[in-house]
């Protein structure tokens, strides 16, 4: 390849984007545009990076299909990191096919990893796993191996398989060491933290304690009746009752479970389920109706009995009732959980990932912004939301090394 391009690419691979820019800042030929785009991405100017990569893809001639496809892959990765989840995945799939056809298997795999990471962010681990399986067991350069293992770990974590996750993160750490890219090692480390940070709270008999992911996993095998606030469900052994579409019933079940084996007063249940401060006769009537519905739903698992004060739960097959709750109970915990990855999200991407309407997300974001729990930058469609930044949080942009091989 050309002399300055080689020099700039080597600087980028060595983690010196300014050194790369120094060499090619004033050049507008296709490879220079592509390298400038990657350098800008590494420096954090993702908007500029995207524009440059798009110009580069246009500037490469019709005979340079591989170079053009690499630009598309880089642009897709930038879109992923900026949580622009609406980015056209068809273009990425086409680029992946081109790279495969021309034998650039490392970059084709990189494209597949980006697809899998996006699916994982959208909460579709099965599809993410299928995408990884399509790639097969290629021997990849260390940087790509890190990404692959991070996706494997992400899938395992979402499925509550901590042993698998730990093994994948161990392999990722080894590959990151070989790749000698500090940002990658940091990303693996922060992903590993997930396993050692409380992932949930356990509430039983009026007491609560934090749970690690591994303990949550162990809970799946427990004999207790579990009210699960992550999945809005009540389960015991193999029996599973989903209350995802019945928020009032779920709130009632949860409060009964939290106080178990004691009962809960009607006033407390009305306050919890209907958000009413003063219970009147119509509330009491409604509570009776809802309790009837809950009783029907929980029939395979437990009885709901009336007491003098209110109501109590009597499980059928177990002597234990547990509530599995989020570590921090926030009204908008779902949004905060997504934003806790430290990346800027668009409200439409949040809506896509939470499978809810953009309006609902917007209202929640405005509310969170008023209490300074989230912040935004940009205007209109370009507006992005994030939690106040954690120092040293890695950008998660892994594109440089595999992209530059000629």
């Amino acid at each position: 390849m050309e002399s300055l391009i080689t020099a700039a690419a080597r600087a980028l691979e060595a983690g010196d984007p300014l050194g790369a820019l120094n060499r090619i800042a004033l050049r507008n030929d296709a490879p220079s545009l592509a390298l400038r785009g990657i350098a800008m991405a590494q420096l954090g100017d993702l908007a500029k990076a995207k524009t440059l990569l798009r110009s580069a893809a246009r500037a490469f001639g019709p005979r340079e299909a591989v170079a053009r496809a690499r630009c598309v892959v880089a642009e897709a990765e930038i879109a992923l990191v900026s949580r622009d989840l609406n980015w056209p995945m068809k273009a990425l799939a086409a680029a992946r096919a081109t790279l495969e056809k021309h034998g650039d298997l490392a970059n084709a795999a990189h494209a597949g990893h980006i697809e899998a990471r996006r699916l994982l962010l959208l909460g579709r681990p099965d599809e993410a796993e299928r995408t990884l399986a399509e790639l097969g067991a290629l021997i990849l350069p260390p940087a790509s191996q890190v990404v692959r293992e991070l996706v494997v770990a992400g899938i395992a974590i979402r499925r509550l398989r901590t042993k698998e996750a730990r093994a994948a993160l161990g392999r990722a750490a080894g590959a990151a060491h070989l790749a000698r890219i500090p940002a990658l090692a940091a990303e693996v480390e922060s992903a590993s933290l997930v396993l050692d940070t409380p992932a949930a709270r356990l509430i039983a008999r009026g007491k609560e304690r934090p749970l690690l992911l591994g303990e949550v996993e162990a809970l799946a095998a427990s004999k207790a009746l579990v009210v699960d606030t992550f999945h809005y469900s009540v389960r015991n052994g193999g029996i599973f009752v989903s209350l995802g579409t019945r928020p009032v019933l779920f709130a009632l079940a949860r409060h009964l479970a939290q106080s178990w084996p004691a009962d809960v007063s009607r006033e407390a249940l009305i306050a919890a389920a209907f958000r009413a401060r003063h219970a009147d006769e119509s509330h009491r009537a409604r509570l009776r109706v809802e309790m009837g519905r809950l009783r029907a739903k929980l029939k395979p698992l437990a009885d709901v009995t009336a007491t003098k004060q209110g109501f109590a739960l009597t499980p059928h097959k177990t002597r234990d009732v547990l509530v599995l709750a989020r570590p921090i109970e926030e009204k908008h915990a779902g949004i905060l959980a997504l934003l806790s990855d430290g990346e800027p999200w668009s409200s439409s991407a949040l809506a896509l990932a939470l499978d809810t309407s953009a309006r609902t997300v917007q209202r929640a974001l405005d509310e969170l912004a008023r209490s300074s729990k989230v912040q935004f930058f940009g205007h209109g469609r370009a507006r992005r939301w994030m939690t106040p930044p954690v120092p040293g949080f890695p950008t998660g942009l892994l594109l440089p090394a595999p992209l530059l091989k000629t």
């Binding site: 390849m1 002399s3 020099a7 030929d29 170079a67």
Partner: protein, 212 residues
């Protein structure tokens, strides 16, 4: 124009710690090749690297009988082959868009990759004496027996071609297998060429067609 498939005689490498080959030359005993931050002397008889010089080496390489010439960024370095010392530099004609390099008839010949050009350059001053237009992206350049040959590389398709130095017309073309790249080209003075394999990090010897 005569066109045929290139006959690959031997492959050298890939070599440990070398990611890519950017330029190739031959000093009569060793094949020198550029690998980013090193110039490496490969013994074509045993396929081993005999010695290396620590010097920026981003594109074409040439040898004038005493000195090695090596493109780095936007300049051409003149290197004492015995000591590895950089004796001087001249600006490269493509201002960094340069790729192949050859020495012949007292001049340096420099490929300018995307511009599809070959420049004849004064090795003392860097002045461009004349420019030959090619049809394809130029990677390696070499002269042998009064013939000007250069490598091309566009999107995983490469060939080695002989062109008319006056008109740039293609006289003969040797196609490399699909998926191989040519980065750097040098004749051994006989019936072989050495070609750099780009990102594969290898060097290939291919047969030069015999004159009848």
């Amino acid at each position: 124009m005569k066109r045929s498939a290139a006959e690959i005689v031997r492959e050298y490498g890939p070599f440990a710690g070398i990611e890519a080959v950017h330029g190739v030359t031959y000093d009569g005993k060793h094949v020198w090749f550029a690998s980013g931050d090193k110039l490496n002397a490969l013994d074509p008889a045993d396929g081993k690297i005999a010695r290396s010089i620590d010097v920026a080496a981003h594109a074409g390489t040439a040898f004038d009988g005493r000195h090695l010439f090596q493109i780095a960024e936007d300049r051409i370095q003149k290197i004492d082959a015995a000591t590895g010392k950089v004796l001087g530099t001249i600006p490269s004609p493509g201002a960094g868009g340069d790729s192949g390099l050859a020495w012949a008839e007292g001049s340096l010949w420099v490929g300018q990759y995307r511009e599809r050009k070959i420049h004849q350059v004064d090795p003392e001053t860097g002045k461009i004496l004349r420019t030959i237009e090619s049809k394809r992206f130029v990677t390696g350049v070499t002269w042998v027996d009064g013939e000007l040959w250069h490598g091309t590389w566009e999107n995983e398709e490469s060939d080695v071609r002989r062109i008319d130095p006056e008109t740039g017309k293609v006289l003969e073309q040797l196609d490399l297998p699909a998926g191989t790249g040519v980065s750097g080209l040098e004749s051994d003075g006989g019936d072989q060429f050495f070609c750099g394999g780009g990102g594969r990090g290898n060097v290939r010897a291919i047969r030069r067609p015999r004159r009848s």
